[in-house]
Amino acid sequence: MKVPYFPGCTLNTTAKGFDNAVRASAAALGVELVELPEWNCCGATFPLLADNAMDLLGPADVLYKASLEGERLATACTTCYNVMRRANYALKEDGEILEKVNYFLEHDSDYEGSVEVLDVVQILRDDVGWEGVRQAVTKPLNELRVAAYYGCMVVRPPDEVAYDDPDNPTTLDDLIEALGGQPVDWPHKTECCGAYLAVKSPQATQEMSYAVLSSATRNGAELVVANCPLCQFNLDKQQQTMAQRHAGYRPIPVLYYAQLLGLALGLDGSNYDLDKTIIAARPLLERVGLL
């Protein structure tokens, strides 16, 4: 099957490894993610603007372009997912705003709200199925204890974006199980990593990331997987100085779910940027037999 795909700015640049892993593993599972021929930034600052139409232009433009390719649009970046889902929701809720936005965009036709925005993980769950994933695994995780970290973007606000239980999502946990790993039951699955606070107050981000990571290790995790480039960045980078503020802190590697998935499917991970993390993941991956 082919699904129109929106990489987004980050997966196109600093998180290219994530993008490569997503495309390759989806393809190996029979889902060809076809990049939109033309796309622009999703908006990203949607929640930060007070004007109720301007911030919708960016995502509406993407949605319009996606509507020319099909009825679905997949993305792996959770912020892109969150922004475009919410923009779509806002446009479909308010006919006046939709009309205003279409007027501004000046395309040959109007966007009618026909596109469904999906997280790649949803496609894995609903179109491929966990049994399909399990059968395609050639290098199982050998009961590796993995903490699935969902962050905020795919669960809040629940009415607009959640494709799983917002308080206790299990989609990534199910993926880990399908790969032969042991998903860890832990309470900080959806607690914020600090996000953009890293720019303004690195200390706040460090404390928030510490709360998440220490909860993962306290509940027995050997690895954390994330679905968001900013989360992966924060949780990884903040560990650089964590031992200075928290005596006895034991680092834990943080990877993207797609990197783990690709390796478990037996794919070549050389372009997944596996060695670019602050906390090295290679020793763990070699120990488990994935590398």
């Binding site: 239980d165 917002p166 308080d167 206790n168 309470p187 306290r218």
Partner: protein, 465 residues
């Protein structure tokens, strides 16, 4: 609501009432009507009467022992010659109109012949199968497969839980039968129905508590030391599973840090129930006080949005909890509750100081929303009564007809129509009973007039008496 004879009716209207639900509302109404000399048919789904009040430890605002004030009612109901009590029974259908309703009631099989049973309790003592009592003990204690709900049960006759009985499930045991001194055990019993004709109906189906499983943010029912108000009542109750000692479910230790969360599921239009459940501010203050009375070195915290203590001496009651028992009241909602090791972590906020609060609690008691019982909805549908979006049965109006419905002869009493406390419930029960007695008195008057007319003794004068 004139209660006139229906035009096509050639029988007289029946001065008998069917009361559905034998909690405090149903019992009060039953006694009011029976004491006036009229027959009552009182039906309850459970094996014994008393409803949720029977599960309570002490009641606000007096801290009276619930059983002490209720057992006079239950005993009177059990003995009253005008009250026919059908417990372990359910109403299957009701047809007809005011003056002549025809109800079909199903008697569920207790597998014990209650006419022969003396309530000696040997069967329960000898039964080898223990199960968690999810209903009466709210998961805090156990009962046997053959059981009565409580030591003060009326009727004090046991029933066999077929799902957990070794005989029904595995073809073994029958120890109860061996030991029963009167041969009351009867595994062959079948359900059967009875048809009753009554002139008026009171719906007193009561409430349940909002299930913990619906609140993922508070553990979703998976954290053992997060319980609801009724479960805590069982822990506090001297006839309860821990004999009144406060012990936490996970390991039986006495909790030293207890967090009470008000509005758990209430006042939450986004995720749960939009309404206020009325009783929680009061019973939470009660819980905090009773907890401190038993655990002198414990600390109670209450997270609240407002304190709704609107009733006679209610405000003073809450102040006692704050001042005399050092309960720390924190104005703010709780965002998350989860397990960490052997503690239960509560994340809340104190809006009056602007600080977030994290408490590592030993026990968390959620004041969960009151919701109507599913049986209430079934009965409403049977009777063509309207219900609202949250399934509460609607009275005729919310202002001055709280106990009447839009169908003549059908009344509501107690929590079936919405959250309320015991004093209001009892008042409504007597109100509904009063309305019905007024109907019965009018019918009697009309009957007398008719009889006199038939014997031609100055009918006109008597008709206008």
């Amino acid at each position: 609501m004139s209660g006139k004879l229906t035009p096509s009716e050639d029988n007289n209207p029946i001065s008998k009432v069917l009361i559905i639900g034998a909690g405090i509302a149903g019992m009060q109404a039953a006694l009011d009507i029976a004491n006036a000399g009229y027959p009552v048919l009182l039906v309850d789904k459970l094996p014994s009467i008393g409803g949720h009040m029977a599960q309570l430890s002490e009641t606000f605002p007096t801290l009276d022992c619930a059983q002490c004030i209720m057992t006079p009612r239950t005993v009177d109901v059990g003995h009253h010659e005008k009250i026919e009590l059908l417990t372990y029974s359910e109403v299957e259908s009701i047809a007809g109109e005011i003056g002549d309703f025809r109800a079909i009631v199903r008697r569920n099989p207790a597998y014990v012949n209650w006419d022969v049973c003396t309530g000696c309790g040997v069967c329960t003592e000898k039964c080898p199968k223990r199960v968690i009592s999810t209903q009466f003990e709210v998961g805090m204690g156990r009962r046997k497969a053959i059981y009565t709900l409580s030591p003060q049960a009326v009727p004090n006759k046991p029933v066999i839980d077929r799902q957990n009985c070794l005989w029904f499930q595995m073809g073994r045991c029958r120890v109860c039968e061996k030991f029963c001194p009167t041969g009351a055990i009867n595994f062959e019993q079948q359900a059967y129905t009875v048809e009753e004709r009554v002139g008026a109906v009171i719906v007193a189906t009561g409430y349940d508590l909002y299930p913990l499983v619906n609140m993922g943010e508070y553990g979703g029912g998976e954290v053992p030391d997060v319980i609801d108000g009724l479960a805590f009542e069982r822990l506090l109750s001297s006839s309860g599973p821990t004999a009144g000692k406060v012990r936490r479910p996970s390991d039986g230790k006495e909790p030293k840090e207890v967090v009470f969360v008000q509005c758990a599921g209430s006042r939450d239009p986004e995720l749960h129930m939009p309404y206020c459940s009325k009783i929680c501010c009061m019973y939470t203050a009660k819980h905090a006080m009773l907890y401190k009375h038993r655990v002198h070195d414990g600390q109670a915290y209450v997270f609240y949005i407002d304190i709704r203590s609107a009733g006679k001496r209610y405000e003073e009651f809450v102040q006692r909890a704050m001042e005399e028992d050092d309960t720390l009241y924190l104005r703010g909602k709780v965002s998350k509750i989860f397990r960490d090791g052997d503690k239960t972590i509560v994340w809340g906020t104190d809006t009056l100081t602007g600080q977030n609060v994290e408490i590592a609690a030993d026990l968390v008691v959620l004041a969960t929303a009151m919701v109507p019982r599913p049986e209430g909805k079934l009965i409403a549908q049977m009777l063509d009564l309207p219900i609202d979006e949250q399934d509460w049965t609607l009275p005729l109006d919310d202002n001055i007809h709280p106990v009447e419905t839009l169908r003549a002869g059908i009344f509501l009493a107690g929590a079936a129509s919405g959250p309320k406390d015991i004093p209001e419930t009892v008042a409504q029960a007597s109100g509904a009973a009063g309305k019905i007695l007024s109907l019965f008195a009018r019918w009697e008057g009309e009957r007398m007039t008719q009889e006199l007319a038939e014997t031609s003794l100055q009918p006109d004068r008597l008709a206008h008496a």
